[in-house]
Amino acid sequence: MHLAKRTIPVAIAFVCGIIQVVDYFFKIESVNTWAQEIRSWVSIVAIFALGLGAVNVLRVHLKKVRQAPSESLNSILLLITFLVTISIGLTAGQSSKPYKFIFDYIIVPTGSAIFSLLAFYIGTAAYRAFRAKNAEAAILLVTGCIVMLGKVPLGEKIIPFAPKWTTWIMEVLNVGGQRGVMIAGAIGFVAVSLRIIIGLERRTYGVD
């Protein structure tokens, strides 16, 4: 069982990873073909992964309904909406009027309203937490405020140089700082990827 539980997953990750790396740098027809084949496989396995989320949501809410049906209004509504969406989507299709209704008037408005709550939270966060307590925080605050003003027409009316400074901050100071973060992050990212491929980071696929 050790072979099936530990060795095979490590071998799969190693072979799949190495093939992708070799494929990029060398023109070896058999490797190139298999690398592409494996990438297609990933796209198929990932479709199955989509269903995992749905199964988890269903399990949680079905359990709630079974345990206390009278207190599970939200779970019942969730399950009904889930089933209605699937039924319409699979029978009438995504271009159908009822399905477009669900997408245009439930998924999009509600999803964007939930996300837009952050506009309000960021306002109070800016007020309560965005303080110039030291040099670093002061730099963050000043550049943040200039960019906020420089990005909108009214900001330009209040501080005429704001757009010019914003462009300079974005294209010079920001590029310098972000590039350092990008390079350092990429080096770390490559190191982790390598550890996954050679089997040192086995937890990512469930092996202890």
Binding site: A4, I8, P9, I12, V15, C16, Q20, V21, D23, I38, R39, S40, W41, V42, I44, V45, I47, F48, L50, L52, G53, A54, V57, L73, T81, V84, T85, Y105, I106, I107, P109, T110, S112, A113, I114, F115, S116, A135, G144, V147, M148, K151, W168, L173, G176, G177, Q178, R179, G180, M182, A184, G185, A186, F189, V190, S193, L194, T204, Y205, G206
Partner: protein, 200 residues
């Protein structure tokens, strides 16, 4: 004022208002709409998943691409996680995805996020802005230098690097505010203009 007569617009607007009601306090309307949203979104993911499955896997398979049996079996193995006695089998498809993703990402990352960025940093250093970019990049990198502790006067280098990063994060914050407010603008346009018929 020209209120919309479209039932869909009414639903969308009322759902958005129910979501905003959480700003006042937690309430039933918010949680009901949130549940409906999760149900619809999860359902949509399944509908799209089935359609994508047909396009990416099923059509080629029945068209003669028998090798696709392998990912189909691996995909099914993902669901062994719900059966404790064989749950270890879901490691195989996860290893396939993780190994491939790591290989694909790693091969391009060095070229695009390291080599190309370093090359672009050492260009036209007599130009003050290019020199500042060079300085910002190099000094920010010293902040991530963890092999040994930088002491004495040299410790000023990672400190200035941190200032550059703070300027970059400030710029990111300014842009983040823009993004968050835009999201609210979209909903407010829907409520006030499309639903209530006010304004433009």
């Amino acid at each position: 004022m020209n209120i919309s007569t479209d039932i869909g617009v009414w639903v969308g607007a009322l759902f958005a208002i129910a979501i905003y009601s959480i700003l006042y306090k937690d309430n039933l309307a918010y949680s009901v709409v949130e549940s409906i949203f999760i149900g619809a979104t999860t359902g949509h993911a399944i509908v799209v998943g089935v359609q994508t499955f047909k396009s990416t896997a099923w059509t080629p398979l029945v068209g003669g691409k028998l090798l696709f049996v392998v990912p189909l079996i691996f995909g099914a193995l993902l669901y062994t996680r719900y059966f404790p006695s064989v749950s270890w089998l879901n490691r195989w498809p996860l290893a396939l995805m993780m190994g491939t993703s790591a290989g694909v990402a790693m091969r391009g990352a060095i070229e695009s996020q390291v080599v190309a960025q370093v090359s672009a940093t050492f260009v036209n250093l007599l130009d003050i802005n290019k020199f500042l970019i060079f300085l910002g990049t190099v000094l920010s990198l010293t902040y991530f230098f963890l092999t040994f502790q930088i002491k004495g006067k040299a410790s000023l280098l990672p400190k200035i690097g941190r200032y550059f990063m703070m300027a970059a994060f400030g710029a990111a914050f300014g842009n983040t505010v823009m993004g968050r407010i835009s999201a609210a603008i979209g909903r407010f346009q829907f409520i006030f203009v499309k639903w209530l018929g006010l304004g433009s």
